[in-house]
Amino acid sequence: MTHTVLVTGVSRHIGARVASVLAADPGISRVIGVDTVPPPSLTREGGISLGRTEFVRVDLRSPDIAQVIAAADIDIVVHMSLVSAPSRSAGRASMKEHNVIGTMQLLGACQRSATVRRVVVRSTTAIYGSSPMDPAVFTEDVEPHDSPSHGYAKDAAEVEGYVRGFARRRPDLTVSMLRFANFMGPGVDSPLTRYFSQPVLPTVFGFDPRLQYVHEDDAVEVLRRMALEDHPGTYNVAGDGVLLLSQCARRAGALALPLFSPAFRLLGEAARSAGLVDFSPEQLRLLCHGRAVDCSKLFAELGWKPKFTTAAAFDDFLRSRKGVRT
């Protein structure tokens, strides 16, 4: 049986890589990539060959997506279009709309569709929050002490709520939800990678959080498998092991500058308004209390382990940084 796959969020790095991997698969007849903005060109830095992916520019917040799904007889949907940080031009309100309303529109269209068989949604481990009152390692069924109250984590929690509702209404479909740890790798551009690219790292005095990364190659591989095989359920996805923030700073050869938490918060706000590094309050909390997740459910389900441990993913990111600098 041939497949037609819809990938949302192809103008961003991981989305584009997933689309190109799926496009290279002979078992898939068509890959349709959608996003609100066109993907960056190949000649400019950061562009990725999308292969035979057909790009359709769709605003996810509009019902246009339903027409795309109906017109192309889509049977697999990979929803990657979650924005983790507000862009400087659009701001938080538009980010929330993009994440939450966009997902509602997409799921609404899938619910109506007679062809869709499998839906894969990207989520984040940020929904567990960061708190000293939580277990050290989160499994998928742990209820966090503080449910996320703002930002990306709140969007992701709402998105997950809609996905669960959707899975209940269409029990005939395979719905997979993937909670990714922070992406790390040569092509990843996130608040965290920008943070680690600085020569001096402000940290919070008295805190040394545990951080966990998933390498972009492994993330793409997990998404590919989820798109091609039936693995219903919610899964944590992260590289093995943890790194402490102090370890990351030392590996990066950066100077850690411990600040008392009010000063750190002020600096974070200042950097944010100056547009230097985008630091949301939830990221500040992550840099205080950290977070680690348990991925044994995913490993058991796929019979596979990420190639990169958390430490290896971070080292790979650092190697690529050094290449850029010299």
Binding site: P132, P135, D208
Partner: protein, 296 residues
């Protein structure tokens, strides 16, 4: 330092005998520093930094263990050498110095890392919370306890909690109520033995004869002690009295005869909790007699 001419001769690295301790320890130290500076060391998923704990943090409290409190350990054979177990001990001393001493005892004399389950207060505080993670400890909650025991770690709990560590001097060596027995349920779920343990000596280090209750409430602390020396002597009052310590590990109480579902039977959990509590109290009473005088 007197060095014979033989030793002063420069020896090429390749020919240097492997038992030349000074060079070796210097090389080890340099390798250690290099690893630390490059960040190339391992911490487990709980944040336990075994190397830092052994080489730096425990090293700082070993003099206290050996020379100040002269800690003596008994029946170390009751600690399983390589499988999971739950150590349940009495808690006392106003400041949790007994946790540190038990960690040195288990680490150095039984060769095992002790993973304590700590109060949430510890993890809310900067520095202390993260030092506690680095030395292998974690928050006392069901998920973490189960996870550590499943991994075959040696987990330690002080079920009396603040009631024990903050009790007045007049109640020394009298066990307080044991929490809700969550630790027993965790041991049953993991099927690991419970090792009742008595620590004698901690009661005398800061004899608590009063409590600044109102100030403690303002500061968000469970208690603020008055001892014969604190707060009268200021920081000097924080020097613990050099009591003689003994730690005895009791006969393990097996839980593998129970079904994992027994952990959900409150009556059984309560009974087993009582049994563990009695065992600790008996050990404690006999060990205190055995020690004799508190300071010599």
């Amino acid at each position: 330092m007197s060095a014979s001419p033989e030793e002063r001769r420069v020896i090429p690295i390749t020919e240097a005998p492997s038992y030349s301790a000074p060079e070796d320890s210097l090389a080890t130290l340099l390798a250690f520093l290099r690893r630390r500076i490059a960040g190339e060391y391992e911490v487990d998923e709980f944040g336990y930094d075994a190397e830092l704990t052994d080489k730096v943090l425990l090293e700082l409290i070993r003099p206290l263990y050996r020379h100040w409190f002269r800690v003596e350990t008994l029946a170390l054979g009751n600690i399983p050498s390589d499988s999971g177990a739950l150590i349940v001990a009495n808690h006392s001393g106003t400041l949790p110095v007994d946790a540190l001493m038990m960690q040195v005892a288990v680490h150095d004399e039984a060769g095992r890392a002790l993973r304590l389950l700590g109060a949430d207060l510890v993890y809310k505080l900067p520095v202390l919370g993260h030092l506690s993670r680095k030395t292998g400890h974690t928050l006392a909650c069901r998920d973490d306890a189960d996870r550590l025991l499943r991994k075959g770690e040696l987990v330690g709990v002080f079920p009396e909690g603040f009631k024990g560590v903050g009790k007045p001097f007049s109640e020394r060596y009298r066990l307080q109520r044991f929490g809700r027995g969550g630790f027993v349920a965790s041991a049953i779920r993991a099927g690991v033995p419970i090792v009742p343990t008595a620590i004698v000596g901690a009661e005398e280090i800061y004899p608590k004869i009063g409590d600044l209750r109102h100030l403690a409430r303002v500061l968000g602390l469970p208690y603020l002690p008055i001892t014969p020396f604190f707060p009268w002597l200021g920081p000097l009052g924080l020097v613990p009295l050099p009591s003689k310590w003994m730690i005895e590990f009791g006969e393990p109480i097996r839980t593998d005869s129970y079904d994992a579902s027994a952990a959900d039977d409150p009556m059984l959990v309560f009974e087993l909790t009582d049994h563990v509590r009695e065992s600790v109290q008996q050990l404690l009473t006999s060990l205190r007699l055995r020690r004799g005088h508190a300071f010599f």
